[in-house]
Amino acid sequence: MTASISTLASAASGLFGAEPTLPKLPDSPYFWMPPSASVTTGNTDALWDFMVWMSLFFTVAIAYAMFRFCTKYRAKSRAANEIAEKTSEHNTMLELTWSIIPLFIVVPLFVGGFKGFVDLRTPPKGAMEIRATGQKWKWLFTYPGLGTPDDALHVPVNTPVRMVINSVDVLHSLYIPSFRTKMDAVPGRYTDLWFKATQVGEFPIFCAEYCGTSHSDMITRVVVHAPGEYEKWLAGTIAAADSLVGVDRGKMLYEKQGCATCHSTDGTPKVGPSWKGAFGKMEAMTAGPPIKVDENYLRESMMDPQAHIVAGFAPAMPTYQGKLSDKDIDGLIEFIKSLK
């Protein structure tokens, strides 16, 4: 129930638009990296800078040597038949030097990387927990006792947050560039990542593991709230409870629950059949006799989507069992009815 209540609240706070608007890439003080907005970024950026300079040094050195040799020792012509002057053909000391030098460079790199990695993988005790569920092609962020109020992830600044990640269909990957962290969402198990936002603002979230058709639309943003703001937002969410019913509720859920990614309201079939004029239609099924699209069928297709697939569509829909209250379902059915 709380789920639906909170969901509404976001509706009330008017956060939804038809198309999920792309987040803005925040301006960064660095050339290479996006702004660093989490406590763990220090290690990554330091190692990065070191390696950039190291690479620059070696690339320039090698390029210079090549260029120098090519100009200095360039042959006049083949006809001239110059003979290269004899130089030593191998020099074990030299070989060893340039075997050892890289070793000396990479060992600290490994250690540094290892330290940073362990940090990224071990969330501090008592970190606030938020569930992130990947599904084609949307992230559902579930807050303790609050359901999924919003497309965007809302977190308070300077608070360690642990994302408990899983997927309902295929692999996804929760990637927040400004926090320099990323973790795959693997169906059938939990994975996790953590961060502690240090900057108030909005930062993009991407899906970084290929997950099919709309992989590249699985973009949303994390909203880092200033101290106090986050609580306000929560309060607002709960306060605005239950204002929507029937069609409006359905419309809002349609956008918030990710129905919109697969079902159009204008008659164009997407991954799933369009909802326009769907209600009351006789639909041919991939298996079994045609079925009339009525309340029962709609309810079934939300709770157990694979039960009856409309002919010509892939069984791609995740179940909404437990995600939708009866009230939500009624709302959605009303909404679908309204789409003549």
Binding site: N166, G188, R189, Y190, T191, Q306
Partner: protein, 179 residues
């Protein structure tokens, strides 16, 4: 592994090549690769060609350790083959009968695998006469096993490490297969 055996070969193989080269001067090759393939063999190279071809090529049971010069390969005496088979049969009966006893949690598995490995060793050593074969073939076979072990070890270690995340998930959600 792979590189460790290289030097050993590097000086072994060429010797054999030289060896074979001394007994066959380039002439026959020239004939073999003559521009005109229809060309019949010239008289003077035929005898030695034939001589080389008809040299006794089967090694007697014992001198097969390095088959170079002794013939193509080692020949297994029958008694050895039969007794190996007997041993294998015995081990098979053993491994079947041992399953009726309970040897602790993984005990039976370990015993079964040990027996299987002994059988495998017998087959490889005698039936596949790897014992008398070139050492390099042994190295190759071992390399294969080494890589299998690497492959299994890493995958299984990792799996064991994250097993609990899966158990956690399965305990919190009902993941019975949808039939």
């Amino acid at each position: 592994m792979a590189d460790s055996d290289k030097p050993e070969n590097a000086d072994k193989e060429p010797k054999s090549m030289q060896g074979s080269s001394e007994e066959q001067p380039p002439e026959p090759r020239e004939d073999a690769t003559a521009p005109n393939p229809k060309l019949e063999p010239t008289e003077q190279d035929e005898p030695e060609e034939a001589a080389r071809r008809d040299a006794p090529l089967v090694a007697d049971g014992h001198s097969g350790h390095d088959s170079h010069g002794h013939g193509l390969a080692h020949t297994m005496p029958i008694w050895m083959l039969v007794s190996v088979l007997a041993a294998l049969m015995g081990l098979t009966i053993l491994t079947v009968s041992v399953t009726s006893f309970d040897l602790g949690s993984q005990g039976n598995l370990v015993v079964a695998m040990v027996i299987a490995t002994i059988k495998a060793a017998l087959v490889v050593t005698f039936f596949m006469h790897l014992f008398w074969d070139k050492k390099f073939h042994l190295i190759l076979f071992m390399t294969a096993l080494l890589f299998v072990v690497l492959f299994l070890a890493m995958s299984i270690t990792d799996r064991g490490e994250y097993q609990r995340n899966i158990d956690l998930y399965q305990s919190t959600t009902s993941t019975t297969p949808s039939k």
